[in-house]
Every structure is written in structure tokens, then in C-alpha cells.
């Protein structure tokens, strides 16, 4: 690579601006839900109590949490609708769906890390890491939505379901929240900020673009595909 190309990097468009806005919306509501939710779950901690008092008491925190939950749910429903409409009517490629290749890629990459393979696996539009993360968060969010609804309307729910549903939903909601929070705070934050390849920040989701160099390294199959056929920007649903 000569000096000229190194300074003027070439960028590949990866995300539609709507995806950038969607990511910000998710960040905002997710952060609100984490703060108001975890402070309720770990209510004995001084910092939780301080936070709850600052927000105007436990009742206010619960109301904020519920409405943030409703808005987040709407965002998630919008996300699903867009994906379904895109895939069914606009013939988008369901690139986020986990295939057999993702499992073999995972094994391949671990072998690569351990020095048993020469090069990492060649990935498509989304890497196996991104796919597993996406679906873990996605199922987590669906569970949170369902159990959150149960906890909001316990009287209505117990008209149809046994009383035990409520405490079960409570432990499920609390634990699944922790799982989602841990995945985001450990895995997602590492990959987006602290990973040596992207440090100090992977700007891809904020600009919608990725450098050709990284595209070639991380999404080589997708890059080759794009080189063959010019990309359709609207197809980048996920």
C-alpha cells in the first residue's frame, strides 16, 4: 500500500442513516432502562439509593423505567417490522440469520487465536461475533418486554395464569436484564471501544461507513461481493 492511499483512506458505505438514528435511540432507551432498572435491582447499594432519590423517589423511577420500556419496545417492534418488510417485499438478504458457517467460523477463529490456523475465518456482512451478540440481545429484549409487561399488570395476568407467574417473571426479568447488561458492557463495549483493532472507537455505526482496509480484513466475503455488484444502500437493514 503506497503512502497516498494510506492517508486518503477509501470508505465503504455500510449503514443507511436510519440505522444510525436507530442505534442512538436504542442507546438512549437502553441506558435509561439500565440505570432505572439496576438501581431497583441492587437497591441496597448507596449509589442506587442516591440515584433513586435524585430521580424523585422509587415511584418516579418505576414510572420512568416503564415508559422507557414502552418506548424501547416500540423501537424494537419498528426494527422487527422494518426487517420483515425489507426481507419479504424488498428481497433484502437475511444476512443476520445464523447459519452453520457461523459455528464453524467460531471454531476456526478460536483455533486461530490459539495459533492452530494461519488466518482468521473469512466473514460475510456480519461476523459470527456480531450475529451471536445480536441474537442474544434480541431474545433478551423480547424476554424483558414480556416479563416487564407481566410485572406491570400482575392483577390482569393472574386472572389467566397462576400466581407464581409473577415472582417467576420477576426473577426472569431481573436476571435476563443482568445478562443483557453484561453482554453489552463486556462484549459490545470491548468490540466497539477497547478492541485493539478499533481503539479508541469503532465509528462505523455513527458514520455509517467502514474503511476499505477493515472491510477487507473483517468482512472479506462481503467486500468481494460488493466489488462484483454495486451495493444497494437500502438493503442494509441490520
Amino acid at each position: 500500500m503506497d503512502e497516498d492511499t494510506a492517508t486518503r483512506e477509501e470508505w465503504v458505505r455500510r449503514f443507511h442513516p436510519a440505522r444510525i438514528v436507530e442505534h442512538w435511540v436504542h442507546v438512549l432507551f437502553f441506558a435509561t432502562l439500565v440505570c432505572t432498572g439496576l438501581s431497583q435491582r441492587f437497591y441496597t447499594l448507596d449509589v442506587s439509593q442516591w440515584f433513586i432519590i435524585q430521580l424523585g423517589g422509587i415511584d418516579s423511577v418505576r414510572i420512568i423505567h416503564r415508559f422507557a420500556g414502552v418506548l424501547f419496545s416500540l423501537a424494537v417492534i419498528t426494527h422487527i417490522s422494518v426487517a420483515v418488510v425489507g426481507i419479504v417485499y424488498r428481497k433484502w438478504q437475511p444476512t443476520m440469520v445464523i447459519t452453520k458457517k457461523d459455528f464453524t467460523d467460531a471454531v476456526h477463529n478460536i483455533r486461530y487465536y490459539l495459533g492452530l490456523e494461519i488466518a482468521p475465518a473469512e466473514e460475510g456482512r456480519y461476523t459470527y461475533k456480531q450475529k451471536f451478540e445480536y441474537w442474544a440481545i434480541f431474545t433478551g429484549v423480547l424476554i424483558m418486554m414480556a416479563t416487564g409487561f407481566i410485572l406491570w399488570f400482575p392483577v390482569t395476568i393472574t386472572k389467566f395464569l397462576p400466581g407464581e407467574t409473577i415472582p417467576a417473571a420477576e426473577v426472569l426479568h431481573a436476571n435476563e436484564a443482568l445478562v443483557v447488561f453484561l453482554i453489552i458492557s463486556i462484549w459490545h463495549i470491548y468490540n466497539a471501544i477497547f478492541s485493539p483493532e478499533v481503539f479508541p472507537l469503532d465509528t462505523c455505526i455513527f458514520t455509517g461507513c467502514l474503511s476499505k482496509e477493515r472491510m477487507l480484513q473483517e468482512h472479506s466475503l462481503e467486500f468481494t461481493k460488493q466489488e462484483e455488484a454495486p451495493p444497494d444502500v437500502t438493503s442494509m437493514a441490520e
Binding site: Y113, T158, E170
Partner: protein, 496 residues
């Protein structure tokens, strides 16, 4: 009591006494003839008195009664001169005796003599005159029942002065008990009467045994006995209860916040004050016998007492004399008795129950779980309550009541949860209670509360399994992710 020697010559049995009588008669005549030369100390007295004193001013002369008791017939001339009766003739009080007349009389005992001698007083001081003083009225009523009234016991004889000057007391109690040891009563304007008799032995076994009367009854002393005018007995009780705060100010300030004081200040004069619960002279250490505390409250709260007595706590207290169970004051406190319907009182209930039910030393004895408090506090209602209490001073307090222990278990009627029908009764009670806040709650709804039990595979399998799965999954997830990250970094470093 200081007894003045009687100068009266009574029936004598000794030969020497006879001789002295003859000698006295002789001297009496002699003195009448030579009045002017009588000794200077008796010079201001009547001629008759001077004549009598020529013998009776000498000490050492005795009169002995049939019971072998004796009195000295000595009269102190100076004391007699200082008395209110110094102008009287001896014969005015000793009517059997006169010039040339000194009969010999026979008395069985000293008491019989004293009774007879005291009768003389009533010749001038009629019963009507003396009954204006409560103590005389009391003594007269005792006299009608057969206990003789002996004026000289209090007032002395020849040295008659005010009682307070005559009698010598070693303590204030002794002084006061001189009158208040007798049956006596105070009458209020509305006609109610109150016994003013004090049982000294009761007082001495009370917690206040070391205090003097005027420590409480200030304004009263050997000099002063103000006459006060109370409309009713209740007015008197209310006024006297004010005394207690002079020493027990801490308790007094607590009562100012109590529902009883609020009622009193709103005009309910029957609201209890110190004396109503603690009594007056018989004040004992409260709490030695816990059943007594409950009985004190029973005086006014009889209906609640009856319910309490049947409860798991009350029956253990009264039937088994169990001292571990709570009595009224353990929850309601003794002095700062709050309105139990207030929200702030409700919010303290988990603490009240927790005082014993979270204490292994107490509940362990009865096979009860200590976890009941924590399981409540870590549930929705408990957490909310905790925050409501925390928010109390910082934010507008939510007016919403939270379910506490008593909402499910009852208050005064708490039953054992180990009884055969308990589970059914509690569940029925629960649905009713839930519906107070959660309108339209179904029969299933109370099951959403795990009844203080830790989730278990048999009791609540769903909750137990979900908890278990995450207990395994979360550490697995964290370790897996961290391992991946570390491998990734390691590869990156190795490639460079």
C-alpha cells in the same frame, strides 16, 4: 410523740402515794394562805394553779395503773404558762379536783385514763367546731366505729399549742402520716369523694420510697397546707399528673406527641394521664410482670384486650406466662403512643415485628424462621416501604400505604401460622387484603407472594428453576466472554 406528764392524781396503790396525797392537801391550804410567797416561776398563774403546782411542779411523783403502767404527774410550770390554756384553773380541766378535794380514782390502764381525760376537751371544743378540719372529721368517724379519739395524743395536755408546734417528727412522712394515716377523704365540688388516706407500707415499697411527701405534693409542708378547690375528681387527677414531669421530663415530652395527649388537648378529659396508668403512691417498676402492662391498657381498651388475649401472643402471655411475647407497649410504646392508623406508624410495623421475629434468640425457641423480615423487605412491598421511609424527609411523601405484616397476619388477633386451618384462613384473608389496593385481584393473585418461603423445587418450581438456570448461566457467560476477549488480545499481541 412527746407526752406531757399528767398532773392528775389518780387511784394509787402504793403506801407512799397515800402519804403524798395528805401532804398535798395540807400544802394546798398553806398555799392559799401564803399565795404571795409562792415560788417566782409560778407567780403569774391562778392561785389554784399555784397551789396545785406546789406539788405537781416537782418531778418524780408517779401514778401507777392496774396494768402496772404509770405516768408521772409532773407539770412543767413554764410550759403551762406558755400554753393557750394558762389562764384556766386546774379544776376547769380536772373537774373532779378542787380546793380540798383530791379524790382517788382507779383506772385499768393508761389508755383508759387517757380516754377519760380527753373527754374533758369536748366540754369546750364541740364536735361541730372541730370537724371543720378533715383530720378531726376522720378521727371522729373512727371514734364512732370504736377507736377512741385522744386529743392529747396530738395536742399535748398542759402545754397545748398548735399540733405542729407540739409534735416532733423525724421525717416528713411521719408528719404527714399523723393525719393521712387515718381514714379521711377529700370532697370535690361536684360531690365526688376521694380517699386521702395513704397506706405508708405501700408507699415504702414503691419506687418512690426515698422521696418525701412534699417532693411530689409541692406547696405542702409542716407550715403550709393550702386548701384547694377542685370541681371534679378528674380535674384533681389531671392537675396532680402535672407533678410527674418535674422529674420525668423525658417521658413527659414523649407523651406530648402521643395520641392520648392529643385527645386531652382536644378536650377529652378522660384521656389517660400519668396517674391513670402508673397509679399514685403504689407506683412500682413497670415491666416486671408483663401481663400487668396489658391489664393497664385493658382499663380503657377492653375490647382490644379481649381480642389480644385470644391471639397467639396474648394466650401465651396469660395462659403460659410467656415473657417473650409482645404486650401493648412493645408495639405502641409506653409514652409516645402514636396514632396506630397513621401512615408513619404503619411504616414502622415491620421493625416492630422484626424486633422479635428477626431475632434468633427469641424466635429460635419456637421453631420460627428468622428470615420472615428479610423475605418481606426484599419483596416488592418491602422495598417500596424502605424507599418511602427514606424519602420521608427528602421528598413529598407518597400517601400510598404499603402492605405490612399486620395486613396479612392481623394485628391484635394474630394467629399461629402453624395451626391446622391457618393456611386456609390466611389465604382468604390475603385475597381480601390484596383487593383493598389491587381492585379485582383474582384468587390466584396472592400466590404471587411466596409467603416468606425461599423458592424451592416443590413449592415454587418455576421460580426455583429460573433462578437456578441463571445462577449457572451468568458466570458461564461472563467467563466465556472474558476468555474470548483475552484470546483475541493475545493473538493481536502475538501477531505484532
Amino acid at each position: 410523740m412527746c407526752k406531757r406528764r399528767e398532773a392528775v392524781h389518780t387511784g394509787v396503790s402504793v403506801e407512799e402515794e397515800k402519804r403524798r396525797v395528805s401532804f398535798a392537801l395540807f400544802l394546798l391550804t398553806a398555799c392559799l394562805l401564803f399565795a404571795g410567797v409562792a415560788s417566782a416561776g409560778i407567780g403569774d398563774l391562778s392561785v389554784e394553779a399555784q397551789a396545785c403546782l406546789s406539788c405537781h411542779a416537782r418531778s418524780g411523783t408517779r401514778v401507777t395503773f392496774q396494768s402496772n403502767e404509770f405516768i408521772e404527774v409532773y407539770v412543767d410550770p413554764d410550759a403551762f404558762k406558755a400554753s393557750v390554756h394558762h389562764a384556766l384553773l386546774c379544776s376547769q380541766c380536772h373537774p373532779d379536783f378542787a380546793e380540798g378535794q383530791h379524790p382517788r380514782r382507779l383506772f385499768r390502764s393508761k389508755l383508759q385514763y387517757q380516754i377519760k381525760a380527753a373527754l374533758v376537751c369536748t366540754r369546750c371544743h364541740s364536735n361541730e367546731q372541730i370537724t371543720t378540719k378533715g383530720i378531726h372529721a376522720a378521727l371522729l368517724s373512727e371514734a364512732r366505729k370504736g377507736t377512741a379519739m385522744i386529743c392529747t395524743n396530738c395536742h399535748g395536755s398542759h402545754s397545748i399549742r398548735r399540733v405542729t408546734e407540739t409534735l416532733k417528727f423525724t421525717s416528713e412522712e411521719e408528719y404527714c402520716m399523723k393525719c393521712h394515716g387515718h381514714v379521711m377523704q377529700v370532697t370535690f365540688r361536684n360531690g365526688e369523694t376521694l380517699s386521702a388516706t395513704v397506706n405508708i407500707s405501700v408507699l415504702q415499697t414503691s419506687v418512690h420510697s426515698k422521696l418525701s411527701c412534699s417532693d411530689c405534693h409541692y406547696g405542702f409542708s409542716s407550715e403550709e397546707h393550702p386548701k384547694r378547690n377542685f370541681g371534679t375528681m378528674r380535674d384533681y387527677t389531671l392537675a396532680l399528673s402535672e407533678i410527674c414531669r418535674r422529674c420525668h421530663f423525658d417521658k413527659y415530652t414523649k407523651t406530648l406527641e402521643s395520641i392520648h395527649y392529643t385527645m386531652l388537648s382536644q378536650g377529652d378529659m378522660q384521656a389517660p394521664v400519668c396517674i391513670d396508668c402508673h397509679g399514685a403512691h403504689a407506683i412500682s417498676h413497670i415491666g416486671r410482670e408483663r401481663a400487668l402492662i396489658a391489664r393497664r391498657c385493658q382499663k380503657c381498651h377492653g375490647d382490644i384486650y379481649a381480642v389480644y388475649a385470644k391471639s397467639v401472643h396474648g394466650s401465651a402471655l396469660f395462659d403460659e406466662n410467656n415473657q417473650d411475647v409482645p404486650v401493648c407497649t412493645d408495639c405502641h410504646t409506653a409514652h409516645k403512643i402514636e396514632n396506630p392508623l397513621s401512615q408513619s406508624f404503619q411504616e414502622q410495623i415491620p421493625d416492630m415485628c422484626g424486633n422479635c421475629h428477626a431475632n434468633e434468640a427469641i424466635v429460635g425457641k419456637y421453631g420460627l424462621s428468622r428470615a420472615v423480615l428479610d423475605s418481606y423487605l426484599s419483596d416488592f412491598h418491602g422495598i417500596t416501604l424502605k424507599f418511602y421511609r427514606m424519602q420521608k424527609d427528602k421528598l413529598n411523601r407518597p400517601a400510598r400505604p404499603m402492605a405490612v405484616c399486620t395486613d396479612c397476619h392481623g394485628t391484635h388477633n394474630i394467629m399461629s401460622t402453624m395451626e391446622p386451618n391457618a393456611t386456609i384462613n390466611i389465604k382468604a384473608n390475603l385475597v381480601k387484603r390484596c383487593r383493598k389496593c389491587h381492585a379485582n385481584a383474582s384468587e390466584n393473585f396472592p400466590d404471587s407472594w411466596l409467603s416468606h418461603y425461599e423458592p424451592s423445587i416443590t413449592r415454587t418450581p418455576l421460580v426455583f428453576l429460573v433462578t437456578l438456570v441463571f445462577k449457572i448461566f451468568i458466570p458461564f457467560l461472563v467467563v466465556g466472554l472474558v476468555l474470548q476477549i483475552m484470546l483475541h488480545i493475545w493473538r493481536f499481541v502475538a501477531n505484532r
